[in-house]
């Protein structure tokens, strides 16, 4: 009996250590690297950017801050769910932002942009990193002369390479027409002015603050890279990139008690917002969504523009709001499913979080 005691102790020690090692090894196999790309590797040929095309796009992105215009605009979208089109009256000033009216009442007011916390160098820089940019000739839109710029996927077959085409006003730089294509070459978005009156205002700089106030600001609690890493350590699922590829460009917290995390992914043409909040999805009170299956899991989809997909996994409710081709959204949802519940950071992060949690079990004051 006395000889059994040290033998049992040795077995317990070795068994515990072996269990810990197995858990770490098994878990490392499942963990997606924090902050790294989620989904399949998509590194391909580097984009070729014509400097003249890039400058035109830069001018077009900055034009709403200096030009006022009114006009009539049509918008159309295509997806597997069907098509939709609208004709809207548009008015824009640098001071007041953009207002769209349909049927005599305002349907939306938008400011121009928010300051980004992760990649803040602008939409054109994003586009230049992911798409080849080239001049596409000249044309006329709503009676005005425009320059055409084409953005294409580097390395893709010619029939499927075109990602977007922009018609930019030669005088003011404004984007007067825009079309977006998916990876199959299908047009999925289109908008264009039917008529437009442009009033370039060179003294309009600095007035955009009022427009931002009018349209409302994005959540003010931004998360930089260090804060995002702490979020990952705390168990939030914050991939650095989604399939597309769509890099993470902005991160914030907001909502009631700042309990919702907002991650923005964009490539200059498409954008996807991923919202996360703790809890399980209240399916009983979800209205206007249809049930779908992604990677064997249930999701609820609202096939609108923007597209919305909601689901819960690993104690987190995910809400995806996307202005992107349908297949891009589906791939992003797939990738987020892969990482659901695994946003645990490194094994040491997980161990520290577990020790905190075990300690809380014995703390009568928690």
């Amino acid at each position: 009996m006395r000889r059994l005691v040290p033998a049992v102790g040795l077995v317990l020690v070795l068994g515990s250590l072996a269990l810990l090692v197995l858990l770490v090894v098994a878990d490392e196999g499942q963990l997606a690297p924090s902050g790294q790309a989620r989904g399949s590797k998509e590194d391909g040929p580097l984009p070729v950017v014509e400097e003249a095309a890039r400058r035109l796009l830069e001018r077009g992105a900055a034009a709403p801050a200096t030009a006022s215009y009114t006009g009539t605009q049509f918008m159309s979208a295509w997806s597997s769910e069907g098509t939709t089109s609208q004709v809207l009256e548009v008015s824009h000033t640098p001071a007041d932002g953009t207002t769209w009216r349909g049927g005599g009442k305002a349907v939306r007011t938008a400011a121009h942009s928010a300051d980004l916390s992760i990649l803040g160098d602008g939409a054109v820089a994003l586009m230049s990193r992911h798409y080849s940019l080239a001049l596409g000739g000249s044309a006329r839109v709503a009676g005005r002369s425009v320059d055409v710029v084409e953005a294409s996927r580097p390395g893709a077959a010619p029939a499927r390479a075109l990602a977007a085409r922009f018609w930019l006003d030669r005088v003011t730089g404004l984007v007067l027409r825009r079309e977006v294509y998916d990876r199959d070459g299908d047009r999925v978005r289109a908008s264009a002015f039917v008529d437009v009156i442009v009033d370039a205002d060179p003294d309009a700089g600095g007035k955009a603050d009022r427009a931002t106030e009018r349209a409302g600001r994005a959540w003010s609690s931004t998360l930089d890279g260090a804060a995002l890493q702490r979020m990952r350590s705390a168990g939030w699922d914050c991939p650095g990139r989604l399939p597309g590829p769509l890099p993470l460009v902005d991160a914030r917290r907001g909502g009631t008690g700042r309990q919702i995390v907002h991650l923005s992914y964009a490539d200059g043409i498409a954008s996807i917002s991923v919202f996360q909040q703790r809890g399980s999805l209240d399916r009983e009170h979800l209205r206007g969504y249809r049930r779908d299956t992604v990677d064997g899991r249930d999701v609820w989809v609202r096939a609108e523009i923007p597209r919305r997909v909601v689901w819960s996994a690993g104690g987190t409710v995910y809400t995806v709001v996307a202005d992107a081709p349908e297949r891009t959204v589906d791939r992003a949802v797939d990738a987020l499913h892969e990482g659901a519940g695994n946003g645990a950071g490194s094994p040491m992060d997980r161990l520290g979080r577990g020790l905190d949690r075990v300690g809380s079990w014995f703390n009568p004051f928690e």
Binding site: P6, T98, V175, R252, P306, G314, V321
Partner: protein
Amino acid sequence: MTAASRAHLGDRVAALVDDELSARDRDRALVHIAACADCRAELATQRAAKALLASLGSASAPGPSPRVLESLHALAVPGGPLPPRARTTLQGPVVPVLPPPGRRPHGARADSRRPGGRRTGRRAGVLTAGALSAAGLVLATAFVAGGTQSPSTGPVLPPVAELSVEHSRTTNGVTVGDPGTGLMTTFENPGPTSTRR
């Protein structure tokens, strides 16, 4: 009767009672007792005392065995001081103290083949193994517990309208072109539709 024969028997009465006299002395003692009333009385007294002692001896417990007597003798053998007990102090770890060579430690078995210090060492080993086991189990439990996210806060209905507005406030800065795209709502013409460029 002679003078000698008239002298009392004295110590020979006890020898007669114990049957320790020779046949000749025994005959002489018996001749004297027949003639001497004092010695006859002394003989009767001593025989009664012997009979009493014999009856007491038959009723008492048996005496100590030779092994017990040997052990009692061994205890009486003088030796060195008892080995000091191992003590736990704040200044240092537990140090088992071995007894002087040739001395049996206090409480050890006579036939034990283990030195006394190994018992303390084994106890420390068991304690160390137990502590390591507990630490390993705690770490494994913590690792498992840390793999899941915080406990659910219950059913959640995402504020999709608010989230869509928040999406539009950031997306304007990350895409080039038309911020009004998000105005469109439900698709009006159900069914797969696509338009080639």
